[in-house]
Amino acid sequence: MANANGWGDGASNNNIGWGKGADNAIGWGDIHADSYAGLTDIVGAPSFVGLLDTYSGASAAFSLRKLRTAYTGSAIRVRRSSDNAEQDFGFVANVLDTASLLTFCGVGNGFVTTWYDQSGNGYNASTSTALNQPQVVASGAVIVENSKPSVKFDGSNDKLTGTTITGLGSTSFSVFTLSSGLSQAGTYAGLLNIGAVSTGMIISRSINNTGFALLQKNDVIITSAGTAPATGYLPKLFTATKEINVISRLFLNGVASTTSTAAAMIGTFTDANFDIGRTLSYALTLNGNIQEMVVYPTHQPTNRANIETNINTFYSAY
């Protein structure tokens, strides 16, 4: 017998039939397209949550994966070797759009002119000099480490520069850097450099001490000898934190290392432009790769380990 409920009565003679379902607030339209809990949720695909969604408040953040849901900009700008043309490249499925990058570069090389800051603060790192640009595509292949795209600094002249991260010198900080090293000689090769060593702050590879270093105002702490061999090393997550006027700490692959309470190491430093890949006072650029660098204006007493886990879960460094 036909009635106002249509399919429901015809199919099962109950009150929860198709017709009634389509007419109420939880109809097909809501489930497929209009509701937040859309089709992808129904079939179990995970929704994206970036590092900076969970652990917000970064001063600057550089990566080849997407770090924040609301970030709509590109990951990098690349100059190709064939004709020196440039183009921005963003993300597909929240990682670098390598397909478009390879189409652009062809069988040649690609060099990073700009590594965009995903924090929202606009501290993009770039260089206008071709020979100073680190490399992301080599002979038609994306440079990777642990199967993830990576930016290669040549140890000769590569560096990317950004404007002063306002206020970082007068507050606590934490810097998370995932990097690798190739064979290199010298002293301190830059990961993140802010100003001169006598007045600023440097996070670097300590080549002659075979470790990672945090330098501030002519003082330094270094991870254990052998943790970053001069002959080279695979990607490692180096974390440097400073609780202002209390203590500076180093962590390597999530494990606590050297600390210092020396005045020079825990006090303020003078804000200045920053370089990724080069130490200013030592005129030494990294011979190695960087995949991610995140700077927070806090020493992350609660979230440091979780941030390291987040980075390692993606990059499988250790």
Binding site: D83, N84, T129, A130, V197, A283
Partner: protein, 79 residues
């Protein structure tokens, strides 16, 4: 620190050398591009007298010729 490259006693000579290299490599492709120079020069401002230099790269030989080696004073607080 010993540097291999090209040394200039006045800044205009270094600028001219940079422009020669830019012209050879067709840089910049567009005024809106980030890349505006193929190579840049540096200032040895701790030396007396001050001089200017371009650090060697293989790509420069075709334009600037064979490099030389020379000393540059680099501030180096400690090792």
């Amino acid at each position: 620190m010993e540097v291999t490259g090209y040394k200039y006693t006045n800044e205009q000579d270094a600028i001219d050398a940079r422009e020669l290299v830019d012209a050879y490599y067709g840089i910049p492709v567009s005024p809106e591009d980030v890349t505006q120079n193929w190579v840049d020069y540096q200032t040895a401002n701790l030396d007396t007298p001050i001089f200017y230099y371009i650090t060697f790269d293989d790509s420069l030989i075709v334009v600037l010729g064979q490099p030389i080696t020379f000393e540059v004073i680099i501030p180096n607080s400690f090792e």
